[in-house]
């Protein structure tokens, strides 16, 4: 393999990895105050991409306006999901992971409606302002500025999420709910309110992921499931709750997948990724940067 080819594959791997990491981080945001994995997170990414197509390509709105509207709309859908599919289950201490079914059901409904509205054809979405899809040559490295933009947005947004949790009182309140829900309530912190906020923000973040990934992947209703699975793998490898871990894990997965594409069919690539996940979990059951949960049952 030529050096140029190898570097091009790695560039693709890192970019895809950044996208997987963003999906994983969106899982983490909704998970933190609830211990619920929102199985619809992948379809919320898909909605972000489809809305971006509708608003930016079809309606020709400026990128920033289109992105803001897409994020707001998907945030509202995430909030709606929390109200209908999660809130009632969390109120019952005996919910027994019923959220797996309810959020999956919500996810299937979203996908079916989207298929109906948008059809299954992949659609183009414009790149981030200032970026293009044209390939640049930089020494032996070829890449597009949209790829650079995706990686920068992933890093910056993860830094922002971490900053909120570590430096703001509302972020610390979410951590307090995660650590001890009843103690948080006795201090006047409302888990219900922070759960709604977290679901809306997680949904908006998923939409952002869809908006910035769509120029590279094309917007189609089929991207949700793939991204859900890859995001989940990044979450497992990086360690649930660890956002920087998700970035490292996402990039690892993206690169393995990209390099595997040289000699493996897509089906075997999936097997290879699963092998990576299993291998990591065998050595570190809570992921590379995870730690055993302190949650009580």
């Amino acid at each position: 393999m030529l050096l140029e080819d190898l570097l091009a594959l790695l560039a693709t791997g890192v970019t895809m990895g950044a996208i997987y990491a963003m999906v994983a981080v969106s899982f983490n945001v909704a998970y933190k105050p609830t211990n619920v994995f929102n199985m619809a997170q992948g379809e919320l990414v898909m909605l972000g991409a489809m809305f971006a197509w509708g608003l930016m390509t079809q309606s020709a709105l400026p990128w920033l306006v289109g992105a803001a509207l897409a994020l707001a709309a998907v945030a509202a859908i995430g909030l709606f999901e929390e109200r209908v599919a999660v809130a009632a289950l969390l109120r019952k201490p005996s919910h027994h992971h019923g959220w797996i079914i309810s959020t999956l059901a919500f996810s299937i409904i979203v996908l079916n409606v989207a298929d109906h509205v948008y059809g299954t054809d992949p659609q183009p979405v414009p790149p981030v302002p200032g970026a293009t899809l044209d390939t640049l040559q930089w020494g032996a490295l070829t890449f597009s500025t949209q790829q650079v933009a995706v990686v920068l947005i992933a890093v910056a947004s993860i830094a922002l999420v971490e900053w909120v949790y570590r430096r703001t009182l509302v972020g610390k309140a979410v951590r307090a709910v995660a650590e001890d829900r009843d103690a948080a309530r006795l201090n006047g912190i409302s888990p219900a309110r922070l759960t709604m906020t977290s679901f809306a923000i997680a949904a908006a973040y998923a939409a952002l992921t869809g908006v910035v990934a769509a120029p590279l992947l094309l917007a189609s209703t089929s991207i949700g499931l793939t991204l859900l699975v890859k995001g989940f793998m990044a979450l497992a490898i990086g360690g649930v709750g660890s956002n920087w871990g998700a970035l490292a894990a996402g990039i690892l997965l993206g690169c393995v997948e990209s390099l595997g594409s040289v000699s493996l069919t897509p089906d075997y690539r999936q097997v290879l990724l699963l092998a990576v996940v299993l291998l990591v979990l065998l050595v570190r059951p809570f992921g590379l940067f995870g730690r055993p949960g302190l949650r009580e049952v």
């Binding site: 309140a173 951590r175 009843d182 103690a183 309530r185 006795l186």
Partner: protein
């Protein structure tokens, strides 16, 4: 001896975790500025009673009034704004946050101005000098006694009108137990009403104005703390079922 005007009025309260009630038909009051002890053997239902008052458990029957206001429709997280603070059993501070952040989280709901927040935190740290030295350390790294002090401080920053404490001296060395009671005496001197659940019976009765005895989920008696000290009634409530079977 007449008791002060009631601040907390619990009337005919029954509460449980499933359908079976753990405490039944409990009626008690805590007066304004009064210190009340709630005593009883392990498993009698003392913590359950406090959890119902603070809204963590929903009563099956009866009413709870605070300053004349019905609490039964309010969520636990809303009560701190009314002036009711509950220091839960087992030092339930946020171990992964710093001491300072624990105090700030105690004020989360009140949305105070920056200056007022700083003043409240300063007051708390002045009351607990040991916490000041460790303000930037994780609460989980504190000693047991310091964690208990932090749990109390976290409630006190809100300047509650009623402070409920669930076994604050549990697992502490005798000198630390004394420190807890000294703190509570200072709080009480500021006019705060106190509802105290304790295992250290004699010390609690020495501290309190009035005491209620809880036995297997029902009140078995109450009276001025001074008259209950050393009484047979208290001994029986405390030893609970064990006393009934023991040869005398």
């Amino acid at each position: 001896m007449t008791r002060p005007q009631p601040l907390l009025e619990v009337d005919g309260l029954s509460v449980g975790y499933g359908i079976v009630p753990v405490i039944e038909e409990i009626t008690l009051q805590v007066g304004r500025g009064e210190a009340v002890a709630l005593l009883g053997a392990n498993g009698a239902g003392k913590s359950t009673l406090l959890k119902a008052v603070s809204g963590l458990l929903v009563p099956g029957a009866g009413s709870i009034r605070f300053d004349g206001r019905d609490l039964s429709r309010l969520r636990a997280e809303a009560l701190v704004t009314l002036g009711l603070s509950h220091v839960a059993e087992g030092r339930r501070i946020f171990r992964r946050e710093t001491v300072l952040d624990n105090l700030l989280l105690g004020l989360y709901r009140l949305r105070l101005a920056r200056a007022e927040t700083a003043a409240r935190v300063e007051e708390a740290l002045a009351m607990f000098p040991a916490l000041r030295q460790k303000a930037d350390q994780l609460a989980g790294s504190l000693s047991g006694g310091q964690q208990q002090m932090l749990a109390i401080a976290q409630a006190l920053v809100r300047k509650p009108r009623l402070l409920m404490l669930d076994e604050p001296s549990l697992g502490l060395a005798p000198n630390l137990v004394e420190e807890v009671f000294r703190t509570l005496a200072a709080v009480r001197a500021q006019g705060v009403s106190i509802l105290l659940v304790e295992q250290v019976v004699e010390r609690a009765l020495e501290f309190a104005d009035h005491a209620y005895l809880l036995q297997s989920g029902r009140l078995s008696g109450d009276g001025p703390a001074a008259t209950l000290r050393g009484s047979e009634q208290v001994r029986r409530a405390y030893l609970g079922a064990a006393a009934a079977h023991a040869p005398s």
